[in-house]
Amino acid sequence: MAHFEKANSLEEWLDQRLAIKTLRRVLAEEYWIPKNINFLWAMGMVLAVTFGILLVSGIFLLMYYQPNVKLAFDSVNYTIMKEVEFGWLWRHMHAVAASVVFLIIYIHMFTGIYYGSYKKGRELIWISGMLLFVTFSAEAFSGYMLPWGQMSYWAGMVITNLFSLGSLELNGLVEWIRGDYVPGQAFLDRFFMLHVLLLPLVIMALIGLHFGTLRIPHVNNQDGEEIDFDAEAKKYLEGKKKESKVIRFANDFMSKDMFVVSIFLIFYFYLVFWHFDFAMDPINFDPADGLKTPPHIYPEWYFLWSYEILRPFPKDPGLVAFGFAQVIFFALPFLDKSPNVAPASRRGTFKYWFWLLLVDMIVLTVMGKLPPQGIYSTIGLVAAVVFIGLWVALPFITKNEKAV
């Protein structure tokens, strides 16, 4: 057995047993961050905070939610919204955070694409991030089933139908996923399990992995400059803070993170109290009714772009295109053939690729919500083809990129 001295403070006592001083040094004080970064690098912290909000508000909702097709709607809309003190607040916080988290995820992703933060040692950061994106998507979809409203039911119907894989007609697979011919009790129960247990566990594990993948390559910076972290850290520790190109994560960068988080929270709580409809679709306040198809069925806004890649094509090619859209972002580090780690603005043709992709995805998002008629289907089709074309073109564009 190891030898223990009497401790003179709680900190010392814990340090003897948990090495908290070392932990703090390694994880925070001497976790070095480049000085040359802007507020977009705080989006990760904003995401962590938002996930915390989802977790805490979710736990409160869970205390009153009933995963039963006869009771679910009323347990949310009556018990939680009317009976339970501040139940409405937890619900609005949960629903708005679930929507806003995707806005931040998209900003976070496009920041990564813009600054080339997915290559030269950062491939795993990107891949673990994409795994988080996919799991968050599954988490949001499963959560959307829970209030058992009209959109829960019909979106559940439409999305699970995709697994019949078009002309393969794998109806058995669809029934296996649903646990029934149509969404019903078995369906609600399993999505409840996924939403409150399995997927949150996976998300937490993935967040750990994501942080782990950051450790060795460190975060990128505004110029994509390669920094000698040991040398710069030494300067900092010698007191040449102004000269050093790095700062401590805590408290240097954290203080900036916190300021960005506070601005984010002002925006988020404004939405929670005064502008929540965009995150809580009115149609979902009608109870699920398997006999009454709503005139417009559409997913939440953050799935619209991929939905619109599915819709304008005939059934089978549509599914292939949809599958392509789901996985192609994973391949970004390998499709970008240029060795340059630099902001898109300095990367020649890639600059246009970046802005086109962004605008194209916004166009897809808007068309995904609009009814697929007339000019909207045409625009949707063109945007979907452009999306695929952009990805096919990426290796060719980047191959001959001049070194910067």
Binding site: K35, W88, K241, F273, F278
Partner: protein, 309 residues
């Protein structure tokens, strides 16, 4: 400053996306219908000035009380809701507050030709069905005068300030349940001591709903959450003229005044969005807290970064 420029770009694309999927998409999916302020311009204005005292007499001779109760004048309903629904398909409402909930032009038009005022001819005379409430053919004098008198009488007995709940019960309650408020089409569901009494009551509700379904072709929906699922604007314009939004629907134009419509909406909000006042007051406090938090966070950052730059 560079960071502000970046923020500007982020905000621009966020707002652009928001505009596309919310205001723009909704304007395409749900053509906008404006309210006419419950003026009922298609109905003729009253040409005669009514006299409430004469109206009391005319009202009795017109036979309205054969079907409607008027509790305010000491006249209970002639039948219980279920018996009434068995004869008419629906329970004729108590008219005590009709004078303040319904528009006077509408009331006059209703008395002369109920189907027309309610805009349900497509479901009745045009389909060869008789409307359960008969048109008033006059009691021997000038019909316009008689109608004006009845309207004046109804206005004279009505409470001036009906509560939101009373407005809902009179205007919508016979067709639409609202179970988050314990409301059934045959009235408020009481608290029962014995399970048996409760089951008997529920059986009555189901029986009433059967008649109603037969009468209207479908059971009118429970309106508990409609303030959230349809929103105020839709409900208001729908109430004013259901045919504008659901062409061919069996839901009648109920003919409420603008004021009564506000009350109906308020009741629906009290039931379906009960915490809206609390939401605003808590929201203001949270905002104040966050502004202070942001200022402190900024000062903290400045104090640390002074040494770094």
């Amino acid at each position: 400053m560079k960071e502000l420029k970046i923020l500007g770009v982020v905000v621009f694309f966020t707002l652009l996306t928001y505009w596309g999927v919310e205001p723009y998409a909704h304007s395409v999916m749900h053509p906008h219908v404006e309210s006419d302020g419950f003026k009922y311009d298609d109905l003729p204005a009253l040409t005669k000035k009514g006299d409430a005292q004469r109206g009391a007499q005319t009202f009795l001779s017109a036979g309205c009380t054969g079907c409607h109760g008027v509790k305010a004048a000491g006249m209970p309903a002639p039948m219980d809701p279920n018996a009434a629904a068995a004869s008419f398909g629906v329970n004729p409402p108590d008219l005590s507050n009709a004078g303040s909930v319904y528009d006077e032009k509408f009331l006059a038009a209703l008395i002369k030709n109920p189907e027309h005022a309610l805009m349900v001819e497509h479901k009745f005379s045009k389909m060869g069905r008789a409307y359960p409430m008969p048109a008033f053919y006059g009691v021997g004098g000038d019909k316009d005068q008689e109608v004006a008198d009845i309207v004046a009488y109804l206005k004279s007995i009505a409470k001036k300030d009906v509560t939101p709940k009373e407005a809902y019960e009179l205007a919508c309650g016979r067709c639409h349940a609202m179970h988050y408020d314990n409301w059934t089409q045959i009235g408020e569901k009481p608290k029962f001591k014995h399970k048996k009494d409760e089951l008997l009551f529920e059986a009555k509700v189901l029986e009433y709903q059967d008649h109603l379904t037969k009468y209207l072709g479908k059971l009118p929906p429970d309106l508990s959450m409609y303030i959230r699922s349809r929103g105020e604007h839709y409900l208001k314009t729908f109430m004013e003229n259901p045919q504008n939004l659901l062409h061919g629907t069996a839901m009648p134009r109920v003919g409420v005044t603008a004021e009564a419509a506000e009350k109906v909406l308020e009741h629906m909000a009290d039931v379906g969005d009960a915490k809206r006042h609390e939401r605003t007051s808590v929201g203001v406090k949270v905002m104040i807290y966050l502004f202070i938090f942001a200022i402190l966070a900024y000062l903290w950052k400045q104090s640390l970064w002074r040494e770094l730059h």
